[in-house]
């Protein structure tokens, strides 16, 4: 087993060695899903899929926070952002996500005060400086963004900043893996688990999943050498008929994870059922504010309603996010649907499978 200790994670030489090892041990086709959109991005940016033996198929998972945020949440965000007394804050790539009609960019063009922040703490600062306004942060992302969001809520509470609220839309990885593996149309035989999520949460949560579904799970980083190493370890397990959780990202991840961050999350949030765009409701797959922090939930301050909304009928984002189809299977891909005119969320974020395919598509001779 290869263990990475040096810092040369983009080395051509190491890459070639790993590719040769993967080729040497692969005896039949395997479908491996990389959960995380950041990995999808790196795979296509470096063309790693071009280096793998033909039988190894990478399936791009639902790990793009922008892509899986429900249409209802986007519509609620738009509704809030359009209010006169609101400063609406968001991570950058949420702004281009199409709701049923508009996106946050067009809301901004129509006069809404929509601001891009790099950290939710910036939103708290904006709230402190604008006490006459309601400052709302749209809380999206996987376990990676949650600690800083929890921290911002704690900070606001401690400092009596009452005009700061969040629109809770965070999601969790393990319930999504359950949903994928228990689906009758599942094709995934092995998983690359998202290294950054595991840096926060550890990987003990994945052990019951690997055992229950007889599916190997390898915690994997984001550099080319990390990803190829993760694939190699997954293929080794598949070829050997094993299904354990292994860690190919030891420089960042331990089995327990970051206990301080987990403590902050547990203090502020609790698991709730959540709708995933393109997938549907997954039980206990999201995070909602605990009762003692309810006043920081934007729903306490606005009447938002719960409409059921329909996606563009052309878009097959759901199948792409579940790993059942690739973007090339979509008739709208690259035609009606481009990063400039996205029909579905995976075309929006650079982490989305469709956008990554569009930007880094293979060279067709």
């Amino acid at each position: 087993m290869t263990t990475l200790t040096n810092a040369n994670f983009r080395s051509e030489e190491l890459t070639q060695k790993l590719v040769a090892s993967i080729r040497a041990i692969t005896t039949r086709p395997w479908n491996i899903m990389e959960i995380c959109g950041g990995q999808t991005h790196a795979i296509l940016q470096y063309g790693l899929d071009q280096l793998l033996p033909a039988g190894i198929q990478l399936i791009h998972g639902p790990g793009c926070p922008v892509c899986v945020t429900s249409l209802e949440s986007i519509e609620q965000a738009l509704k809030i952002a359009r209010q006169d007394d609101v400063i609406f804050t968001s991570f950058g790539d949420m702004l281009r996500v199409p709701g049923a009609g508009q996106d946050l960019f067009s809301a901004r063009a129509s006069g809404a005060d929509v601001r891009v922040v790099y950290s939710p703490m910036e939103a708290v600062k904006i709230a402190a400086l604008n006490s006459q306004k309601k400052v709302v942060f749209v809380a999206v992302g996987f376990e990676t963004t949650v600690p800083s969001i929890a921290q911002s809520v704690l900070h606001a509470k401690r400092n009596g900043i009452t005009n700061f609220t969040i629109l809770p839309a965070n999601v969790l990885v393990p319930p999504a893996m359950h949903a994928i593996l228990s689906s009758p149309e599942n094709r995934v035989q092995g998983f690359l688990a998202a290294g950054h999520v595991c840096a926060v949460m550890g990987y003990w949560e994945y052990e019951p999943i690997a055992a229950r579904y007889h599916t190997p799970i390898v915690v994997t980083g984001f550099e080319p050498v990390d990803i190829l190493n993760g694939i190699l370890m997954t293929v080794q397990q598949l070829e050997a008929g094993m299904h354990t959780v292994q860690n190919a990202y030891r420089r960042a991840v331990t089995r327990e994870g970051n206990l301080t961050a987990q403590g902050i999350i547990a203090q502020v949030f609790e698991p709730v059922d959540r709708n995933w765009r393109g997938i549907g409701l997954i039980p206990l797959s999201g995070l909602g504010l605990r009762p003692e922090f309810q006043t920081f939930d934007v729903h306490e301050h606005f009447e938002l309603g719960h409409e059921t909304l329909a996606e563009s009928p052309l878009c097959i984002a759901g199948s792409v996010l579940r790993g059942v189809a690739t973007p090339h299977d979509c008739p709208a891909f690259g035609r009606q649907c481009t990063p400039g005119t996205p029909l579905g969320a995976p075309m929006v974020s650079s982490e989305g499978a469709c956008a990554a395919y569009y930007r880094y598509q293979r060279v067709k001779a």
């Binding site: 983009r10 051509e12 890459t15 950041g38 991005h41 296509l44 940016q45 470096y46 063309g47 790693l48 071009q50 280096l51 926070p65 922008v66 991570f91 950058g92 790539d93 949420m94 702004l95 281009r96 960019f105 891009v116 922040v117 790099y118 950290s119 910036e122 999206v140 992302g141 996987f142 990676t144 963004t145 950054h196 080319p224 481009t338 990063p339 400039g340 974020s349 650079s350 982490e351 569009y358 930007r359 880094y360 598509q361 293979r362 060279v363």
Partner: protein
């Protein structure tokens, strides 16, 4: 001078209008005394030359002797809005001169004259305006162009954003062979005059929303000297283009479409300063799509590539120039990138605003 025993006179005590102001007021755009003073004290004192100082409605340019035979007039116009107005390595004044100078230079032209329109928001500090005009004057002198006509308008507070500057430039260039975006040919080499993305990162950093500090400085600079030196030694240039908004990738996609060719880049050869690379990785941005304001792409027959590289590197503005790719013939015009790992991917145009990734 006060005489002993008398108090120093501050001037008459009747309420005359304030004559020296620290801010631009609506009256500065009225065409009256205030406008006149603003033009004299801020603009003519810094950018002055006989053509501008003549103070007529238009500048009269006598080109009969200046315009050599076989040359064509080249005209370009560009509006400049930037936030913040002052950033490491430049400001809106320098940008407004270099932007138009470079647009002319990219046609192989030597710019000669500029005109400028200033749209200023009421309340703008005169001291900031002076800094901006000083910086325009310095850039004009670097680029050896004269500002020959200018106009100032003032908007009510809140109806514009500080200052907008629009400039128009005139220069001349040889008629043939043409230098333009549709002239790239299979067999050409692609060169870039220096590292990519510095301006984009410098601006993002100056907006104060990166959450970290770096020493990246904008590359804003007039490129006409570089163009002039290159054409003097290598007249056979097919394309010059400055990769501004949309960056290197978007610019080369445009050229590949205009010329109906495929351009293949070698990722390892593209110069990117380490702090820019690190900032991009932290923020989830791609340096190939970041704006540059003092860099150019040169496409020319491969046999001249090394001469061109030597000429570019001899100028401080091009001392990190590199050969980054070549032009080939393929059924479909596109931009390809050979990655550091030897794989190949297609680069597309930037769509919309470049957005940082969430995690």
């Amino acid at each position: 001078m006060t005489q002993a025993g008398y108090p120093e006179m501050q001037g008459p005590n009747c309420p005359l209008p304030i004559s020296k102001r620290e801010m631009v007021v609506i009256g500065h755009g009225s065409g009256g005394q205030l406008t006149h003073e603003l033009i004299r004290d801020v603009f003519q004192s810094r950018l002055g030359n006989p053509l501008l100082n003549a103070g007529n409605d238009s500048a009269l340019l006598d080109l009969s002797q200046a315009l050599p035979a076989g040359q064509r007039l080249v005209v370009s116009t560009d509006a400049h809005i930037v936030s913040p107005l002052f950033f490491p390595g430049g400001d809106i004044g320098r940008l407004s001169v270099c932007g138009t100078v470079n647009d002319l230079a990219m046609m192989g032209a030597q710019p000669r004259y500029l005109t400028a329109t200033f749209i200023i928001e009421e309340g703008f500090l005169i001291s900031d305006l002076e800094k901006i005009v000083d910086s325009m004057a310095a850039a004009c002198s670097e680029a050896r162009v004269q500002l020959v006509a200018a106009d100032t308008k003032v908007t009510e507070h809140g109806k514009s954003d500080g200052i907008f500057i629009s400039t128009t430039g005139i220069g001349w260039a040889r008629s043939t062979p043409r230098i333009a975006g549709d002239q790239a040919r299979p067999g050409d080499a692609v060169l870039v005059s220096g590292p990519m993305g510095n301006h984009g990162i410098a601006i993002a950093q100056a907006r104060g929303n990166l959450g970290f500090q770096s020493n990246v400085v904008s590359d804003t600079a007039p490129l006409n000297s570089l163009v002039g030196q290159l054409l003097a030694e290598v007249p056979n240039v097919h394309v010059f283009r400055d990769p501004t908004r949309g960056g290197l990738a978007t610019t080369l996609v445009e050229i590949s479409r205009q010329s109906s060719v495929t351009i293949e880049l070698d990722e390892k050869a593209i110069p990117i300063d380490p702090p820019v690379r690190v900032a991009c990785e932290l923020l989830g941005l791609d340096p190939l799509y970041l704006a540059n304001e003092g860099k150019m792409l040169v496409i020319l027959p491969a046999e001249f590539a090394y001469t061109a590289l030597r000429v570019l590197r001899a100028n401080p503005l091009g001392n990190q120039a590199a050969i980054i790719g070549h032009v080939t013939e393929r059924p479909q015009p596109q931009l390809l990138l050979k990655t550091t790992l030897g794989t190949t991917r297609v680069l597309e145009m930037l769509s919309g605003e470049m957005l940082p990734r969430i995690c």
